[in-house]
């Protein structure tokens, strides 16, 4: 399906990349609209990146600014790494959506507004005096006023829906128009609507009618002279079978691929709902036919405890939450460290402290992950950089947890969890049975069995599983004797065990790849070091800066504890090190203490992603100062 297929009569302008934001009330279905536009756009061969953004309230009163829900998509004929700094098009379904988002539109950008929703009442609800479509606010932009409300009502009239249901089809009308504007197909959406409303055909047909009407409107109706359709060429993506995936789906699949790779049958997922971590529970609850057991526990403590119990029983225990919930898991995590069981703890970070901003993403839980426990309690910590990277990181977390018999904390965030992008469906490797999994250990004879026998290479302990005759053993949180596994209060033994636990996790560094340079050179004037979901903006900013001829490179960390073994030497090779983080400076602190490196932080704690422009400016400043 190429754009030509729907280009129709009108002449289309060429666009390299485009940023669109669909915005309306929580009730207006903007997330669905965006998701469908994403699907059609992906199928038409563009690369893309999305950014859903919605309020903490379920449905704040209609028309209010804090009830606005938005979905942004950046797509184009080139590699797309971010959701876009500035909007080319803002689809505003009501006045609140307009005032909240207009500021993000580039000068000369297009506003598509549903005038039918700009009633006096809605204007007041948005806290405005007069109609914003007439005022200063929209002066710098192109405005396309359409009474979508009416146009939709007309389109769905044949299906005899109530006014309320009819209105609910507005988003499909807007979607239709946008699909036309960018020469996208609409078959997948039609199919999806038929499936979604299978039980209510009238609603399905009405929505399809609205979709077609919006599409036809662009196709046929006389459009404002300065608004035309566009063609966005296919991106030349590497060959392969593609699908769209968001971070949550990719992570779920990654965990299962990892499970398969270490030859385990069962992944036990104990979790308790919390924004923005719940989607992983929802996705996995639908994958139980693939060897998952999902358990919605009574709280986060029970969630991690059940996962620890499952690991003890020979399954792989996984638990997931967000900052406040992860905090509650701290004590039990200490137990998992003490008894040296494999465990994956996933943290979908959100803005804190405390309840903070549940639907906004932040990277402020790194300290908690690396340092946040009582006692000398080391764990491995890794982070995902993009939606599709969640797959690899999910699999890697399982690999490390099982091979090294250690809890692994996997850091992601609310942005990655919901953002989507095209993804080459990965091939699954052949599995070598028993590989990557510690054995059950040997029985010392006469019923004495030491569950803390260690692999001389990794120091991982054996993993004897209940149900196995002859390996009956007792483990617990009290210190145990290095050689027998029995409770021991001996001071020297405690020291020995403490160092063994530390060294075991340190040796993970011998089992992971050396740190690569993402963009640029190994050494130079400036390295921009990032981790997690800042990947896109940093990579883009560094690439553009290099095109300008600036001597800057991008180093992005997946492994946050332990660090890759070559990281110190690599970073010493740069004149300066800049560390952008969506926190007040956590990775930068770790780099400074570990390598005595005068790394400098760059903080953004608004709960929003970095803009490429912000990082480019910081790069320029850093190089000038140098």
């Amino acid at each position: 399906m190429t754009s030509s297929a729907v280009a129709g009569a009108v002449s289309r302008a060429i666009r390299d990349t485009v940023v669109i934001r669909f915005s309306g009330d929580s009730g207006d279905g903007m997330q669905l609209t965006g998701t469908q536009f994403t699907m059609e756009t992906a199928l038409s061969g563009s690369d893309l990146s999305t950014f859903p953004d919605y309020p903490a309230e379920i449905r704040a009163p209609a028309g209010t600014t804090y009830g606005v829900s938005s979905f942004q998509i950046h797509f184009g004929a080139r590699e797309i790494l971010t959701a876009g700094d500035e909007l080319d098009v803002l689809v505003a379904m009501n006045p609140a959506a307009l005032v909240v988002n207009a500021g993000d539109l580039r000068v000369g950008g297009l506003i598509v507004a549903d005038t039918g929703a700009f009633s006096r009442r809605n204007i007041e609800k948005a806290g405005l005096e007069g109609d914003p479509l007439e005022g200063e606010l929209v002066r710098p932009f192109k405005v396309m006023k359409l009474d979508m409300t009416k146009l939709t009502a007309d389109a769905v009239e044949p299906f005899g829906l109530g006014a309320k249901e009819a209105l609910r089809c507005r988003n499909m009308w807007a979607l239709g128009l946008m699909l036309w504007m960018y020469g996208r197909d609409k078959d997948v959406t039609v199919a999806w609507l038929e499936k979604k409303f299978a039980k209510a055909p009238a609603i399905a047909q009405a929505n399809i009618a609205a979709l077609n009407a919006g599409h036809a409107y662009g196709e046929t109706v006389e459009m404002p002279s300065d608004v035309v359709g566009y063609t966005v060429a296919r991106a030349d993506l590497p060959p392969g079978v593609y699908r769209t995936v968001n971070g949550t789906e990719a992570l779920a699949y990654g965990l299962l691929a990892g499970l398969r790779a270490v030859g385990l049958e069962r992944l036990f997922f104990g979790s308790y709902p919390i924004t923005p971590a719940s989607p992983l529970l929802h996705v996995l609850a639908n994958l139980r036919h693939l060897g998952v057991v999902t358990f919605q526990a009574e709280d986060e403590i029970a969630a991690i405890c059940s996962a620890i119990g499952a690991s003890y029983a020979g399954a792989l225990g996984v638990t997931s939450s967000s900052g406040p919930g992860i905090a509650l898991k701290t004590e039990a995590l200490g137990l998992a460290i003490g008894v040296e069981l494999p465990l994956v703890v996933i943290n979908s970070q959100r803005a804190g402290p405390s309840t903070g901003l549940p639907t906004k993403a932040e990277q402020s839980d790194l300290f908690q992950a690396v340092y946040g426990r009582n006692g000398d309690a080391p764990v491995a910590v890794i982070a995902a950089a993009s939606p599709s990277d969640c797959y690899d990181v999910g699999a890697e977390a399982v690999r490390i947890a099982v091979r090294h018999m250690t809890p692994v904390i996997l850091l992601t965030d609310g942005y990655l969890a919901n953002a989507a992008e095209p993804w080459v469906v990965p091939e699954l490797e052949e599995v070598v049975p028993g590989a990557g999994r510690p054995g059950p250990g040997g029985n010392g004879g006469n019923g004495s069995f030491n569950p803390y026998q260690r692999d001389p290479e990794t120091l991982a302990r054996v993993w004897p599983v209940p149900g196995t005759p002859g390996l009956e053993h007792r483990i617990g949180g009290l210190e145990k004797h290095y050689d027998t596994g029995n409770i021991s209060y001996d001071p020297e033994n405690h020291a020995r065990m403490t160092w063994a636990r530390m060294e075991k996790v340190r040796r993970v560094a011998d089992d992971i790849p050396e740190q690569q340079v993402e963009v640029g050179t190994a050494g130079g004037a400036l390295a921009v070091v990032g981790w997690g979901s800042t990947y896109g903006p940093i990579r883009k900013a560094v690439s553009l800066s290099r095109e300008e001829g600036l001597d800057v490179s991008h180093v992005h960390l997946r492994y946050l504890h332990p660090f890759p073994r070559n990281l110190g030497t690599l970073l010493q090779a740069y004149g300066r090190v800049l560390v952008p983080e969506k926190n007040t400076g956590q990775l930068v602190t770790m780099l400074r203490s570990t390598f005595l490196l005068p790394a400098e932080g760059m903080s953004k704690v608004t709960g929003k992603p970095f803009k490429v422009a912000e990082i480019r400016a910081a790069i320029r400043r850093a190089l000038e100062a140098a």
């Binding site: 699907m39 119990g309 029983a313 020979g314 469906v425 699954l428 149900g467 009956e472 007792r474 949180g477």
Partner: protein
């Protein structure tokens, strides 16, 4: 790996090689003996048996058994045990907890393990005190208990473990006494036979910090008068010659102690124990010496499908309906090819 010997196991076979570290005279010793005896009688293989405990003197229990054991963290044993059982329903999972571990910090997990009806045997050793931390009042301590943290006497009305379990929706609620070996082993056998969460409160004497707190019904001389051993379908009789009984006050939901023969009272007037009646169980759980006997035995049992069975039933259904091929799943609903 040496398989468990075919020869039937004895109680001694369930003892681990670890020296038992409770205070001399602690009620826990007696309970340990009864549990080992029960395990031998049940004939469940050691390797299929897992004991999970929290933290407390009582929670040291698993170290002294030759089965699989997990001494976890304070209050969380039911949650960890649930994970063990859901991950491998083949295992026979026991939970050992105390009045502090299970009802103070761990109350929430106990509530949910019981209402979900996960097939666990949950033994709560109630000594009405925090033993391991040197004798502070616990949620089951009587009003006025003087302890290091309550020098003027505790002021928290105690919670009744059995009433709590009944309110939580437990489907097996029983009570016994540390040193009453025959009774305790029978109750343990019943708990094990019950499919679903079985809650057993065991009155346990802490010789160091709460010695004799159960004397009023455990002391040899008073036991017969102060203990009522409830049995389903049998009249609620007690006393040395079973001459006393509980009668339902006509037209009301209240119990009175009656003496057979006195005022024309016959055995027919005595209420027959119905272990399927939650309200009755609540009434029995609330009776206390001296006015009433302490009722022990199975107060309530009314089985329902156990959680892990329903869960794995659902999963089996899904496996039957959907392909387990991960590679296929990765492709999702719609893909496209770039070449």
């Amino acid at each position: 790996m040496t398989a468990t010997p075919a020869a039937p196991l004895t109680a001694k076979d369930f003892a681990s090689d670890q020296e038992v570290r409770w205070c001399p005279g602690c009620g826990d010793y007696a309970i340990l003996k009864s549990v080992q005896k029960t395990l031998a009688e049940l004939g469940t293989p050691r390797e299929k048996t897992v004991f999970v405990s929290g933290i407390g003197c009582s929670s040291r229990f698993p170290y002294y058994l030759s089965t699989y054991g997990f001494h976890t963290i304070h209050g969380r044993a039911p949650a960890i045990a649930a994970g063990v059982k859901l991950a491998n329903p083949e295992l026979d999972v026991w939970v050992i907890t105390g009045d502090g571990d299970g009802l103070s910090i761990g109350g929430n997990h106990l509530l949910h393990a019981l209402r979900r009806n996960v097939n666990l045997q949950i033994l709560l050793f109630n000594n009405e005190i925090y033993g391991l931390t040197k004798g502070q009042a616990s949620p089951t301590s009587r009003l006025g208990t003087r302890s290091p943290s309550t020098p003027r006497g505790s002021i928290d009305p105690p919670v009744s473990p059995t009433a709590f379990a009944l309110g939580a929706g437990a489907r097996f609620v029983a009570r016994s006494i540390d040193t009453l070996a025959p009774h305790l082993t029978e109750v343990l056998r019943r708990a094990h036979a019950h499919q679903g969460a079985a809650f057993v409160e065991i009155f346990q004497n802490c010789v160091v910090y709460n010695d004799g707190v159960f004397e009023s019904f455990t002391a040899r001389d008073v036991a017969a008068d102060a203990q009522l051993h409830a049995e389903h379908g049998r009249p609620l009789l007690f006393g040395p010659d079973r001459s006393k009984g509980l009668r339902l006050r006509p037209g009301q939901l209240a119990l009175d102690v009656v003496t057979l023969g006195e005022g024309g009272v016959t055995e027919a007037d005595v209420l027959v124990h119905d272990q399927t009646n939650r309200a009755l169980a609540l009434l029995l759980a609330g009776l206390e010496p001296p006015a009433f006997p302490e009722v022990i035995g199975v107060l309530y049992e009314d089985p329902a499908p156990s959680y892990e069975n329903v869960l794995h039933g659902q999963i089996a259904e899904e496996r039957a309906q959907r392909s387990g091929d991960l590679a296929a799943a990765l492709h999702g609903s719609s893909t496209w090819t770039v070449d």
